[in-house]
């Protein structure tokens, strides 16, 4: 079927200058397949239901809108004291000199851009696979674009319980950088890894992470998407969870002209656990802010637990979006599904748009969802002020209080504490 003209034109315009960056190797077939799928489905348009609340224009334009890097030299990089093994991408280009070369035991890492002629079966089996599965029942054309045209990414294979976190540090230095990165993460049975991501990958970025968590394995994923105002960010994380495995993902976002973070989680083994959470603060005072969390959790196994906790603090015309769905298939009995999305609106100009959804075909499940929008609690504000805390500081404390429930989703308290301290400092300086 032919695409609507606007969609066709937008897709043609975007694809005109894009080329699959490899001519052979293990990812070629998946890339060609993804490119074909992309041509068939076309890029998102404002009238697509899944993009009702977030205009895709800047994410699909042939050129990224200019975005000035932010001077973040006023503080040490987030998580820099966690003893992590750090790997650096500068505007999407791997920087070997800035990266650690010694890997902790129990993990091997290579890169998409340099491994094409290597014989890594598992990677070729995973690359684009979860992305493809994640295209049903909802199309995610930008993820297909990523699979087809990604220029680099990490291929992380975890074979043991790894204590040292792996930290991917993104540096945004050029105002026109437009990285397309695709990471693969595989956790073998009974293994564990903490994966940290810090910073904005570029002026505009499109990142995909495909995560395959085998039986009894655990992945902790914590990311801080940076503070840059002008950045456009589009991320997809596709996670497939085996029996008794755990996937915990938390995302912190500050400002950003446009952020769309999609999490697609699918339970394939029984008794697994997935928690996806996020905290976002948007202050539209100097630049517009639009932040979208879109989550799709599919339960297709017994007794799995999923939890979504998303909190947004919005002011000066910032817009927050949450689209979250829990799909429980017919045989996924004893599913425990929970979803909460909340916004704190600090003025009348900001808005929060939420679309919480449950779709349940099993008859013995416990699923709940809630969404709230509110202002600062006047009683709490007065209480703090009556103790001598000046109003702006009291509001900051209540913002932190509001976000605390999302931050608590991070299992490692030292990571949660650091993010909380950073938030407090940023709020205190009014630097967000």
């Amino acid at each position: 079927m032919a695409l609507p003209k606007a969609k066709q034109d937008a897709t043609d315009a975007r694809l005109a200058d894009l080329e699959i960056p490899v001519s052979g190797g293990w990812s070629l077939a998946a890339r060609q397949d993804a490119a074909e799928r992309l041509v068939q489905m076309g890029l998102p348009q404002p009238r697509d239901e899944y993009w009702r609340f977030t205009r895709p224009k800047d994410l699909i334009a042939p050129e990224p809108p200019a975005a000035a890097p932010m001077d973040e030299s006023d503080e040490s990089p987030v998580f820099s004291d966690k003893g992590a093994c750090t790997l650096v991408f500068r505007d999407g280009v791997f920087d070997a000199d800035a990266s650690d070369s010694d890997l902790p035991a129990g993990v091997s890492i290579t890169r998409l851009a340099v491994s094409q002629d290597n014989d890594i079966d598992w990677a070729s089996g995973l690359y684009g696979k979860l992305e493809l599965e994640g295209q049903t029942p909802v199309q995610r054309p930008l993820a297909a674009l990523n699979t087809a045209f990604a220029t680099d990414g990490l291929i992380i294979d975890v074979t043991d319980k790894v204590e040292t976190p792996i930290l991917i540090r993104y540096l945004h230095e050029r105002d026109d950088s437009d990285p397309v990165l695709h990471h693969l993460v595989r956790l073998h049975a009974d293994t564990e890894l903490t994966l940290l991501e810090v910073g904005a990958p570029g002026a505009r970025c499109n990142t995909v992470m495909e995560v395959d968590v085998a039986e009894d394995a655990t992945l902790h994923h914590v990311r801080d998407q940076g503070r840059n105002h002008d950045r456009r960010t589009n991320t997809h994380a596709f996670a497939r969870l085996g029996a008794r495995s755990t996937y915990k993902s938390f995302t912190l976002s500050l400002n950003g002209a446009l952020s769309r973070n999609e999490q697609i989680v699918s339970f394939t083994g029984d008794d697994a656990v997935a928690h996806v959470a996020g905290a976002a603060i948007g202050d539209g005072k100097t630049d517009p802010v639009h932040h979208d969390d879109t989550v799709f959790v599919t339960h297709d196994a017994l007794r799995c637990e999923s939890r979504q906790v998303f909190k947004k603090v919005l002011k000066n015309g910032a817009v927050g979006v949450f689209q979250g769905k829990i799909l429980v298939k017919k045989d996924a009995q004893k599913t425990d599904g929970y979803q909460i999305s909340q916004s704190l609106l600090l003025d009348d100009d900001s808005q929060f748009l939420a679309k919480p959804e449950l779709e349940i075909y099993a008859d013995d499940v416990a699923c709940s969802h809630g969404s709230t929008t509110g202002a600062i609690d006047e009683d709490a504000l007065f209480y703090l002020r009556s103790r001598g805390v000046p109003k702006p500081r009291a509001e900051d404390l209540l913002v932190l209080s509001f976000l605390a429930e999302a931050l608590q989703e991070i299992e490692d308290e030292t990571l949660a504490d650091e993010l909380n301290e950073r938030l407090a400092a940023w709020l205190g300086r009014h630097a967000v």
């Binding site: 703090l384 103790r387 001598g388 805390v389 109003k391 209080s401 931050l407």
Partner: protein
């Protein structure tokens, strides 16, 4: 010396245009403990909120000064720095903000506003531990988020701890005895009594005489329909306990 002076104070609820205080006159001398008793709806809590600066009330006439300084145009935090403290009837729960963080933020903000140096975290810790011990507040309660999961008694003790840490000049206790059993009330009263001194004044708002058994007032006022209708010594509280408000109010009318 006069600590708090309220003259002909008229207050309306902003939203409802409803008159609550209809000409309150009250003077509290430094070093004294005054009690205000009165039936429900007489305006006792409103008086405490207006004095501490809560939004939603409009002062239509009259004045209130703290050590001679007009407080009614001040923000709540300015009043706090000037020495005003309200122990809440219903202390607010603030999830995600640690009790210690809250206390230290408040203490240093007040000191900063007064041009005093901030208290170091070591000194602060020492101070808070000693005072918490007197009130039987354990380390766990100090670490927990402000008032979250606290029992009624713990919340009130926490109010007194804040009072002890902030060392205000004018302490208003709004029905601090509500929801407390006898033991908890004694503990709270001990905390208050420990703070009684020459430089500080108290205004204790209560329905019942029993709190005043433990916090002996110098002066007792009866409030009704937005006014102070009778003022006397501690014996006035005993009279209320014995005969209720009915007789007193009939007499005052």
């Amino acid at each position: 010396m006069t600590m708090l002076e309220i003259k002909n104070l008229h207050v309306e609820l902003e939203e409802e245009n409803k008159k609550i205080l209809k000409g309150v006159d009250l003077t509290v001398e430094t070093g004294k403990v005054h009690a205000i008793m009165g039936p429900n709806g007489s305006g006792k809590s409103t008086l405490s909120y207006v004095l501490s600066g809560r939004d939603g009330y409009e002062v239509t006439d009259g004045s209130a000064t703290l050590e001679g300084e007009d407080i009614l145009d001040m923000d709540p935090e300015e009043r706090a720095a000037a020495g005003m403290f309200l122990a809440f009837q219903y202390p607010v729960e603030i999830p995600g903000v640690g009790n210690m963080t809250f206390l230290r933020t408040a203490l240093n903000a007040q000191r900063k506003a007064r041009g005093e140096p901030e208290v170091s975290s070591a000194d602060f810790l020492k101070m808070v531990r000693a005072k918490a011990k007197d009130l039987q507040i354990d380390a766990d309660m100090l670490k927990r988020p402000v008032n979250v999961g606290f029992s009624g008694g713990e919340k009130k003790r926490n109010e007194i701890l804040q009072m002890a840490m902030l060392e205000p000049k004018m302490c208003i206790l709004d029905e601090t005895d509500s929801g407390l059993d006898v033991d908890a009330m004694k503990l709270v009263a001990q905390g208050v009594n420990a703070l009684r001194d020459e430089g500080r004044a108290f205004l204790v708002i209560t329905h019942y005489q029993r709190l005043l058994d433990h916090i002996q007032p110098d002066v007792v006022h009866i409030m009704s329909d937005g006014r102070i209708v009778k003022t006397g010594g501690p014996e006035l509280a005993l009279e209320v306990e014995k005969n209720g408000y009915g007789d007193l109010l009939a007499e005052g009318a």
